[in-house]
Symmetry: C2
Subunit: 355 residues, 2 copies
C-alpha cells in the first residue's frame, strides 16, 4: 500500500489515491471548492484531474507559470479573488501543480481568514518528492527564496505519477535532484537505487518516487520544526539556493530551475564534506560525475561567486549571524550546523569548474 | 497573582511582569532583538519600555500609526527590513503598541522565515483586553478587516497598565467597548462591575482589566480555533466590522475607531437578540443607554445601511454563504450561528437611530 496515514498531511499514491480524495471531499462538505492551477497545469493536468476526481462544482484560480510569480503580489491577487468569489472558512483550496503552486497555494490557504483547508495534488516530480510532505509553504521575497511562509500540512496529498507523462524533461531532471539528495542523506542503498531512475519515463518510477516520499516523511515526522534532523533535507541547498537566487536576480544569467541549482549545490557541499569531514574523495568524484551526466554545467566568474557568498547571509538555517551548512561524513551520515570558511567555498567552486 | 502560565501565550500583568520578560529573554538568548513600534508608541512608550525591560541591544522598526497601515504593504516593508538587518530564525520580535502593532507584528513574525518568536506588549486598552490573548494576528485586505492572518500565540504577553496613562481618551473608550462586550457575554456580575470602570483613570483599573483578560483567556483556551464558544467574542462584531469597514472605505464618512464601531454593533446585536431570542427589552434599552453615554452616535442613511449589509458577506464567521451572528438569550447566555433576515437588520438600524 502506498499511503501515509496522518490526521493532517496524509499522502496517497496512485491506485487508491483518488478514492481517498473523493471520500475526504464528501466528509469535508466544503461550502465552495477552489482549484489553483498555473497556465500549464490548467492545460495539461486540470482535465485529467477533473475526470479522475469526478468534481463537478468548483471555481478555477489561475496564476502565471514560473518561479518569478511565487511572490506576495500573487498572494494578494488570490486573496482578493477568494474574497470576491465568496470563499469562507469552510471553503477548500486544491493546489494542482508543481512546487510553486503547492507552496504558494498552501500559504494563501493557511492565511486566508486565518486558515482554510487545502489539499495538494503535486504534478511535477519536484513537488511529488519534495513539496508534497512536511507542510512547508510560502513565497519568495524579492529574490530571496521562501523567506515568507508558515509550516502547515495540507489535509491530504494525492500523488499520481501519471501527471509526469506531460512534464517537460528539464522539469523531470530538476525534481530528480531532490531524489539524488535523498539518496545521499539516507543510505548507500537508496543512492544506488536512485541512479537507475528512468528520466525518460518517470511515470513508471512510482516505487522510487514513493521511497523518496517515505524518506522525506520519516525526516519531517521526527523533526517537524527543523530543529535538527530536518536540516539534512537542506543538503546542497545552502549554496544551491544562493545560486538560484543569484540567477533569478541577474539580468544576464539564465534562470536555473530549482533542481539545476541544487545539483550544483550538492557537488559543492560534497566537496566541502571531503575537506571538512573526510567524506571519501572517490565517492565525491562519482557523485559529481552522476550529476554532470544529467545537469548543465554553469560558469561562475569570481564576481558571481562573491555575490553568491553575499547571499548566504539570508539562508534560513543561519543562527546568530553564522552561515551553517549540512555536510556529510559519508553517504547516509550527516552533520548539521557546520561552519565553512569562505576560502573553502571558493575552493569548492574551483573544484566544480575543473570537473 | 496576575498571571496566566502557558508554554505559549503566557500573560503577566503589572508587578511581576517585567521580571518574567527579563528572564524569558535570558533563556531565549536571541541572535537579534527587534522592537516594533508605531510613531506614537515610539514617542510615548518606547522610553518607558527600555527603562523597565533594561534591554540595551536592539533594533527599532517603526510603522505609521493607524488602522490604514495594517496591510500587506506594511508587512512587505517589515519583512524586507528584517532581512536587511540580518534577522534569522533565532531573532525575536517585540511588538510594543496597540492592536495594529500586535496584530501586524504577530503576523510578520509568524511568517518570516516560516516563523520567528514574538512577544506582545500591548499599550492600548483595546490591545490589553482583546489582542493580548488568543493568538489571532493578521492584517486587513483592502477594507476587509483581518482577512489575512494566522492563529499563533505570542511567546509571552506583558500587560502594564501604566502605559494607559498616555493613551488619548477616545482610545480608552474604544478599548472599553471590548470590556463591555466581555460583560455581556460572560455574566451579569461582570457587566455590572465593568460599568464602574473609570475612563479618566484607566491605569488604576488593573483589576477590571485583568478580569477581562481572564474572561477572554477562558474562552480561547476552551476553543482556540473558533469552532464554537470563541465565536461569542464576536458579539457586536458582525455589523460592527461591517460599519468599521464601510467608514474606512468611505471618502465622506469619518473613520471610526474599532471600539466605536463595535459599540454600535453591540446595540444592534442586542436589539436583534430581543427580536429573535427574547432577550429582555428593558436590559437592551439599558445597554444602549450605557453605550450612548460613552460613544458618539453615528448617522446612517439607507444607502449606508445597504452597503454595510453588502459587506457582511465577507464576515469570517460565515459558512456556506450564510451570514451568522452571535446573539444572546440574556446577559451571559449566548447562542452562536444565528441567521438574521435582512429586514431585521434594517429594523435594528432604525432602533439605533431612534435612541
Amino acid at each position: 500500500m502506498m499511503e501515509i496515514k496522518k490526521e493532517r498531511g496524509a499522502v496517497y499514491c496512485n491506485e487508491e489515491a483518488w478514492k481517498h480524495l473523493k471520500s475526504k471531499l464528501v466528509s469535508l462538505h466544503p461550502s465552495k471548492l477552489f482549484i489553483l492551477v498555473n497556465t500549464h497545469t490548467a492545460r495539461f493536468c486540470l482535465p485529467v484531474f477533473l475526470e479522475l476526481s469526478e468534481i463537478t462544482s468548483y471555481e478555477v484560480l489561475t496564476i502565471e507559470a514560473g518561479e518569478k510569480y511565487k511572490n506576495i503580489t500573487s498572494c494578494v491577487d488570490l486573496w482578493h479573488l477568494l474574497s470576491e468569489k465568496g470563499a469562507d472558512r469552510k471553503s477548500v483550496l486544491i493546489n494542482l501543480g508543481g512546487g510553486v503552486v503547492t507552496d504558494l497555494g498552501g500559504f494563501v490557504a493557511s492565511t486566508f481568514k486565518r486558515g482554510i483547508e487545502f489539499i495538494n495534488i503535486p504534478t511535477s516530480l519536484l513537488a511529488m518528492v519534495d513539496a508534497s510532505v512536511g507542510g512547508k509553504n510560502g513565497v519568495d521575497l524579492g529574490t530571496l527564496k521562501n523567506q515568507i511562509g508558515v509550516i502547515k500540512e495540507p489535509l491530504q496529498v494525492i500523488v499520481d505519477t501519471n501527471f509526469l507523462k506531460t512534464l517537460p524533461k528539464n522539469e523531470v531532471v530538476s525534481g530528480y535532484a531532490e531524489m539524488l539528495k535523498h539518496g545521499l542523506i539516507h543510505s548507500e542503498d537508496y543512492w544506488n537505487d536512485v541512479q537507475k531512475f528512468d528520466i525518460k519515463n518517470p511515470a513508471s518510477e512510482e516505487n522510487l518516487i514513493w521511497k523518496s516520499i517515505l524518506i522525506k516523511n520519516e525526516v519531517v515526522t521526527e523533526d517537524p520544526f527543523e530543529q535538527n534532523r530536518r536540516k539534512t533535507l537542506n543538503y546542497g541547498h545552502t549554496l544551491g539556493h544562493a545560486i538560484e537566487s543569484y540567477c533569478l536576480a541577474s539580468e544576464t544569467k539564465k534562470t536555473l530551475l530549482h533542481g539545476e541549482a541544487i545539483a550544483i549545490g550538492i557537488i559543492l557541499a560534497t566537496f566541502l564534506s571531503t575537506e571538512l569531514l573526510n567524506f571519501p574523495k572517490q565517492k565525491c568524484q562519482h557523485i559529481a560525475n552522476v550529476i554532470l551526466s544529467h545537469y548543465p554545467k554553469v560558469e561562475f566568474t569570481e564576481t558571481t561567486i562573491n555575490d553568491c557568498i553575499e547571499l548566504l547571509k539570508y539562508d534560513k538555517k543561519n543562527q546568530h549571524g553564522k552561515v551553517l551548512f549540512v555536510l556529510l561524513n559519508d553517504i547516509g551520515k550527516h552533520e548539521i550546523n557546520c561552519e565553512v570558511p569562505n576560502d573553502l567555498i571558493y575552493k569548492a567552486f574551483s573544484y566544480y569548474k575543473n570537473l
